[in-house]
Amino acid sequence: MTDNGVPALWLVPALPAAGALIIFLFSKFWNPRVAGRIACSAVGLSFLWVLVCSYMLITWPGEAPRFTQKLWTWLDAGTITADVGFLFDQVTLVFTLVVTGVGFIIHLYSVAYMRGDDGERRFFGYMNLFVAAMLVLVMADNAFFMFLGWEGVGCCSFFLIGHFYQKQENCAAATKAFLVTRLGDIFLLLGVLLCAKLAGVSFLDLSGFEKVAGMDSVPQAFGASGPLLLTIAGLLLLGGAMGKSAQLPLQTWLPDAMAGPTPVSALIHAATMVTAGVYLIARFHVLYVMAPVALAAVAMVGVGTAFYAATCALVQTDIKRILAYSTISQIGYMILGLGVGAFSLGLFHFFTHAFYKALLFLAAGTVIHALHGEQNIYKMGGLKASLRGTYLVFLCGAAALAGLPLTAGFFSKDAILWYSLSTKYGNPALFALGMVTALLTAIYTFRLIFVVFHGTERSHHHVHEPEPLLVKPLAVLAFFALFAGFLNLPHFVPVLSAKWEHFLEPVFGHYHAHPAGYGGKAGEALAALLSTVVSLAGLFIAWKLYHPGAAVVPVPAMEIGESETSTPAPYKASLANWLYRGWDFDRAYDAAFVRPFRRLSGMSSWVDRVIIDGVFELSAAIVRGVHSLLLAFQNGRLSRYALVMLFGALAGTIILFFGRGW
């Protein structure tokens, strides 16, 4: 605790960082199980400290509290100025609670899941490092320091996707994830530099954008008008968010990232890291409100991605890939929420999604674990009986994902859809596409349930009952997946309505958009009813298509092996195959970027070796040629030398005496 009563914020990321350091330095002297315990206690302590900070923030006397803490000056070069400093406000509170809370549960789960793995120590070291980096990301008080966490989580994601490093595909997936997100990071960095130039990027004085928005021309080397620059900055930041949050068109890395261990998928690629883009846009909400074009782009990217990923999820056969696409889709909803000015609702969807998606991933992990690593849903089936507990929690998560009424996912998604219609940034097209996506979501979610847990058992493995640690922690998540929605009931409900929005008001204030038109509360109730109908319709369609005796089941026609080709085509219908391959984005990128880069690289190397070095080698060869020519005179015969000297002397004499007149 510091002197002014603000709790020591730096402790929150420092605890897991210290855990990681201890594991990396010392754990090789210990039993591998110790690493898991250290990691869990580090994250657990961090969570407790977050609780303390949150309690103090909420009960802080006085107006609009916001904790800040500066440790030391980090960067000081012209416009690039930044501190190592922390900020704790309501947005940070939400994110830190999820990161440490859900993180703690996933750490607990991992202790059981990773038992006996070769890289157990390494795994927990990276997990702790990840939590530390993620906490820096959400607690930094300026964008440069945030970028440290931003890249840090990318690194840890890379390590953990490549955890089973002996398989080439996993390394390829890890590299792909790192490079694609890094491409986004470059946009982010340029955006941050631009923002730094325009208004400073400490989150405390984002209001500087208001000044820029009014300028006709911004001085210093840019020559553009203020609003245009703000739009560019907003788009650049959106580029960063696209990379990290797997939004179109930089989404291709996330499905492949499922190569990592399942707890990693739950923590990094579902609950926390991939939502960094949501955090980023929410933090820079001032900028986006100043630049409506950028905000519209955000909304379009969000709803487009939500729809895209939902269509892909319909036909996937790998249980984790289905969940990965659903993650992309759900983040699309969050981004859509931000894009229509409903910043707090984007965060609310993040909050509920973190619980139910982590739950789904962990439960999927338990299933995979029970089936000795099998991930293909068509090789599962009928697990309802043998994995009773897992089935129940999975069902809770699925209900929330599909948006069945009164679950957490229902309230958060429905609110976003309503705002996408009714705020001044919204329009019916966004709303309609969002609703269609909601239908698809319900279909693929229950397809998963029916194929995996119902019907006959298709697995050849003996299903063994998972140990308690693989199921018990999930109950906590299941509780939140079902009931977290009650934190923000719709406006038309007389009690507890819009609690969440009020809670975040100190941060977003008047920048937050509000519904207007479309019948107010009545319209909202109608939209909620529509959501209900849509999700139930999805459930019904899924039952029709995939219930155990269904005749029209679109099941893959051919076996999909472990090593997939670059253009897998398991279905008879080419549309299904196209969806299965994620709209062939990978193939296009391969042709447009990967292969040209390889050629460019090979060419550079060749040019260097042959042409540029060749020029120097050529000059060396010329010197060598002259050398061998002159060598002919060096025959070692003294009298010849004397003769040459004699004639030389004669010639010299002649020139000296008779050359004067020339």
Binding site: N635, G636, R637, L638, S639, A642, L643, L646
Partner: protein, 101 residues
């Protein structure tokens, strides 16, 4: 009177003889002797010059040339002896060939 002009002519003839001998003879001993002749021819030219100008510089130079020539002969003969021991010949061309091989 010192016949300076004649002495210069003698010096030129001696030097030319030395050069020609140096070029045509292949035996190391003769080569050394021809070098010696050239040196002494140069010394004679110095003395003659000294006489012409009536100054002692030239003779002083000759005093320097004498020990240099003596040292050269001493080292040269010693080398010649060693070379003969090793190569069994004093034919310079033959020695050069041996070196190349």
């Amino acid at each position: 009177m010192f016949p300076a002009n004649e002495a210069l002519i003698l010096s030129a003839i001696l030097f030319s003889l030395g050069v020609i001998a140096f070029i045509v003879r292949r035996n190391l001993l003769y080569t050394l002797m021809s070098v010696e002749i050239m040196l002494n021819a140069a010394g004679l030219a110095f003395v003659a010059g000294s006489a012409i100008h009536g100054q002692p510089d030239g003779q002083v130079f000759f005093m320097f040339i004498l020990p240099v020539a003596a040292a050269e002969v001493a080292i040269g003969l010693a080398l010649a002896l060693l070379i003969f021991k090793r190569c069994k010949t004093l034919d310079l061309w033959a020695i050069a060939r041996i070196k190349e091989e």
